[in-house]
Subunit: 227 residues, 2 copies
C-alpha cells in the first residue's frame, strides 16, 4: 500500500494554541510575569476558550505558566535561584544520561556527530545564521543521547529541563567565546562516549555544565546588576 506511514496528524486547535503560546514564551515575546487572560488569548489566537484552556493546562504542566491566586495565569519567572535549581537537576540527569550513553552499544551516531562538532568553530564565525545552525547541532546531540539511553522516564525529565533551558539560553546567546568552548566540551563528551568511557563521559558532562552555569550566571549578573 502507498498509505502514509503515520497518521496525517489531526492538528487540533488546542495543539496550535499550545505550540504558539509555548514558542512565544520561549522566544521571550511573552516575558515572565505576562498575564494570560482566556478571552484575550483565545481571540488573539483565533480559537475558542475551551481549546485554549487545554493549551494553558499543558503549559502549567510544563512549568512555563502558573495559576495565580485569584485571577488569570501568568508566565513563570526565571530567577537566579531557579536557574541554579534547574542546573542542579540538569547535572543529575545529564551525568546519568552520559554514563548510559557511554555504556550503549551503538556509537555510530556519536561518531557522525563528532565530525560535525569538529566543524563547529567555523560555524560560529558565520554570524547569526551559524549560531542558529550550532544550536540545531546541539539539538541533534541531545536527540542522539535520548536515542542511546532509550529510557522514556529519563528522556521525559530531560525534556522538561531542556524546555526551561531554552529560556535561559536567550541571555547567553551572542557569546561566541563561550559557544566555542562549549563545542570543545561537547567533543570531549563525544570522545568519551565513543571510547565507552562512562566515568569520563560523566565527569566531562559535569565540567561542561559547571562552565555553562557559570557563564549564564555571569551574563545575567552583567546584564542586570541591580536586580
Amino acid at each position: 500500500m502507498y498509505t502514509e506511514t503515520v497518521r496525517p496528524a489531526p492538528e487540533r486547535a488546542s495543539d496550535r494554541a499550545y505550540r504558539v503560546l509555548r514558542d512565544e514564551i520561549l522566544d521571550g515575546l511573552l516575558p515572565a510575569g505576562t498575564v494570560l487572560l482566556e478571552v484575550e488569548q483565545s481571540a488573539r489566537l483565533g480559537v475558542s476558550r475551551t481549546p485554549l484552556r487545554a493549551a494553558v493546562a499543558r503549559l502549567v504542566a510544563d512549568g512555563l505558566v502558573a495559576g495565580r491566586s485569584g485571577r488569570g495565569f501568568s508566565v513563570t519567572e526565571m530567577s537566579v535561584d531557579s536557574i541554579n535549581d534547574l542546573y542542579e537537576l540538569r547535572e543529575a540527569l545529564e551525568e546519568r544520561a552520559a554514563t548510559l550513553a557511554a555504556r550503549g552499544a551503538d556509537r555510530s551516531a556519536f561518531r557522525a556527530l563528532r565530525e560535525r562538532f569538529l566543524a563547529a568553530p567555523a560555524l560560529l564565525e558565520a554570524g547569526e545564521h551559524g549560531i542558529h545552525e550550532y544550536y540545531a547541532l546541539i539539538d541533534e546531540f541531545d536527540a542522539a543521547i535520548d536515542d542511546a539511553i532509550g529510557n522514556s522516564f529519563l528522556v521525559g525529565a530531560l525534556d522538561t529541563v531542556r524546555t526551561h533551558l531554552v529560556r535561559i539560553r536567550r541571555v547567553a546567546r551572542g557569546n561566541p567565546v563561550r559557544l566555542r568552548a562549549a563545542a570543545a566540551e561537547h567533543l570531549l563528551i563525544l570522545d568519551a562516549i565513543i571510547d565507552g568511557d562512562a566515568a569520563l563521559a560523566a565527569h566531562a558532562t559535569h565540567v561542561h555544565l559547571h562552565l555553562s552555569r557559570a557563564s549564564v550566571l555571569a551574563m545575567l549578573g552583567a546584564n542586570e546588576p541591580a536586580s
Copy 2:
C-alpha cells in the same frame, strides 16, 4: 487576624475528578489498559465532560494515561522495562537528593525521623494497619528530603517518580521481610544525612534502590512468571 493561613481551596470539579481517577489508577481499581470514555467517566463521577477532560489531560501529563491512536484514552501499562527505566531515573534523582540533604544545614527533621524509623520493625508486626503507618512514615521521609533540598525542579521530578512508584509498590506490598530491611536501609541514609556525610548518603541510597528494585522484580517474576 484569625484568617486561615492558606486559601480555603476552591475545590473545583476538575480537581475532584483528577484526584478520584488518580487514586483509582494508583490503587489498581482502574487496571492498566482500562479505556476511559469521556461520557462514561463524567457520568460516573458526576461532573460534566469539560472538567473531566481537564482531569484526563493532567493524568496524561503525569504519564498515568495515554491517548490512543483512534478513540479514547487508556491507563498506561507498567512493564518490567518501564520499571527498570523508572528506577534508573529514581537513582539519579534520589542519590542527588540525598547528597544535597546531607549538605543541608537543618537536620532536626531527620533526627526526629530517625527515632520513628527505629520503631519501624515493631510497626511492621502490627499487620495491615502497621504497614499503612510505615508507608506514611516513608512519605514523611520523602517530604523531609524535599524540604531539605528546596529545589522545585528536583522535587517536581521526584514527585513524578513517586507517583509511578505507588503503582509498583502494590506488588511489593505484604512482604514484611523486605520492608524491615528497607527500614534499616533508611536508617543508614538518615545517619549519613545527620552526620553530613554526603558521599555515604548517596551510596546508601544507591544500595537501597538496588535492593528495592531487585525485590520488586523478584516479586513480579514470582507473581507472573508466564508474562
